[in-house]
Amino acid sequence: MRTGYLHGLDWLRVVASAAVVYAHTRDWFTYGHQTWWVNGVLDTAVLDPLRVGSLMAPLAVTTFFLISGLVVTYAAQKESPGRFLARRMVRLVPALWVVLLAVWLVTRLGLDAGARGEHAGDVSTLLTNMALLNFATGSPGLDLVTWTLVVQVPFYFLVAATIPAMRRWPWLPPALMLTLLSVLMSVVRNEDAPGAHTLRVVVTLLPIMVLGQVIALTRLGKLPVPAGIAYGALAWLLVVRGDLTSDFTPAVPGYPQMVVCIALLTIICSRLTGGVVGARWVKALADRTYAVFLLHVPVLYLTPHLLSTTAGTTLAFAVAMLGTAVTADLLYRFVEKPTVRWYRGWENRGQKSAERARDDLAGRVEAAR
């Protein structure tokens, strides 16, 4: 069984993080009625020829989902269901709540931090966002990138529920999940209500995380390669089916194409070790990708107001990038890392160091949330 830190995936996470920041920054320039020369050059030289100009969002989302599905499956090999869920929530929720609270406070001060909707400054908005219920109720969104968590959190619950089965019958959790998603896809046809649309988004994109799980199980030797390919193909076909049968979900085209490319890249990158792949600076960047993901949109939209300029100017862009880097580092150092450390300490209270080492190994293989 091949365990151990998957250094190669850090590169993928960093690239995906850059892609999502790039895509949102491009929109931000358009929002400010400005031309972004980087977009022009990159479109001409790279994105248009490879036909990925409009695929930056699917590229980033697919990468995050696939890697998340892969690494939490590794973690699930050694953790009980309760511990698994608790560790995922400790990793995700504190940083999420801090960012949402900050955006809400800034919005209440009358500044634009990317929050959309008339009652964005209400307390009810803050509370629904913190529970991610705004996507079900159609309430204003404080940080709209958090929609991806609405896909990830159900996956974590499904993995937790199937941990006992996974130990004995590794094929059963992906088989059960794919069946459940297939049934839900048949049932959830109308997307007029916000809750129904959100459910449809979850059902269409969650197979990507299942694909990450299948890759992990195959790498761990728990699934034979032909079975891994078969389950992977079924997961991909569910994404295609979701795309073909809905006019609204996914909102942008290109997910099936991206899923195959990123799955293959993940397989290749998970084998890479040593040299620049394992460099500490790469890991440091990868560790901060969640913080960057949460913060970049609010910082992008807030910066022009702080500088009394418009979105898309060179000054606003430079300050926004610097601001994102600084705030992401602060969020990681003072929120994410301490809360995980505190929780692990609480988990290991009263345990001998040998037992602690085994638990920490399970934690160390977690390369992403």
């Binding site: 020829p49 490879l50 295609v240 073909l244 490319c261 293959l264 890249l265 397989i267 290749i268 040299g275």
Partner: protein, 294 residues
Amino acid sequence: MIALLRAGAALLVVYSYLVGLWLHQHGADPQPLAGIREWLNRPLRAGEDFGPFALMVLLLCTGWTTAAARATGRDLLRTALPVLVAAPLAAAALAAGLDVWTYSPGAGLVPLAWVIGLQLVAALVGLDRRGWPVPAAVLCWIVLLVAFDVDGLGKPALFLTMVLVGHVARRVADGVLPGWAGLTLGVGCFAAVALLDRTVDGLHQWWYPVAATYAVLVFLAAVAVPAPDWPVTTWLADRAEWLLVLSGVVGFAVLGLLHLRVPLSAAILCAVAATGLAADAGHRLTRRLTRRTA
């Protein structure tokens, strides 16, 4: 794993250029072909029923294997023989009034012959023991092609980059070329693909850069994985080039003869079987001739 990749590519070549292309040229779009296009080709943005993807995988494998061995006259004969046999066969079939896939009578008797040409070029590329001078030179040549607007060689040049990627990948795997140099050359190859796609007439609509991306990723993901040698895999891998050139000759001729006489699916099965038999005969001819020249 190279044999498995070649076998898969051979099957896809027959599917694309015999089944898919023949049906398209005769105005048919039956199930399950239409279903495969709707559920696989279009979501993946892989055109021509995976034909270019298959050709690229074949060329990647060729680049990989020729990097490891110095080609002999016997190897060159083995490579060229399929075209040397298929071309007069196609001419004879045309003369007999049979349906054959050609670009036009008298010009381009075997439309995929250029792939065999690229495999001969691969043998020359394989002579480069250091791994980087010849790929770098070829990339410069491609830039010159674009600069002097030489359209006719654009498509072969685009596919030639796959030979280079296979060659460079093998050199990196063998430790002859450092990883950073291999990556740089690989990026250069993709830049060449993008440049040709953008500048050569008629290529843009086929999204070859996407097919190239898939081919390279599948190749890199699979090439290091050991795979068992199944007889059917070996059979297909050994006859890949024969299947490639004879699909448009033997396969088209049989389909042309049978499609009005028997149900279409039966005609297709017969055409595929006939192509397989012809490819097997060609492979046996290759073995006999190359044994004699040894």
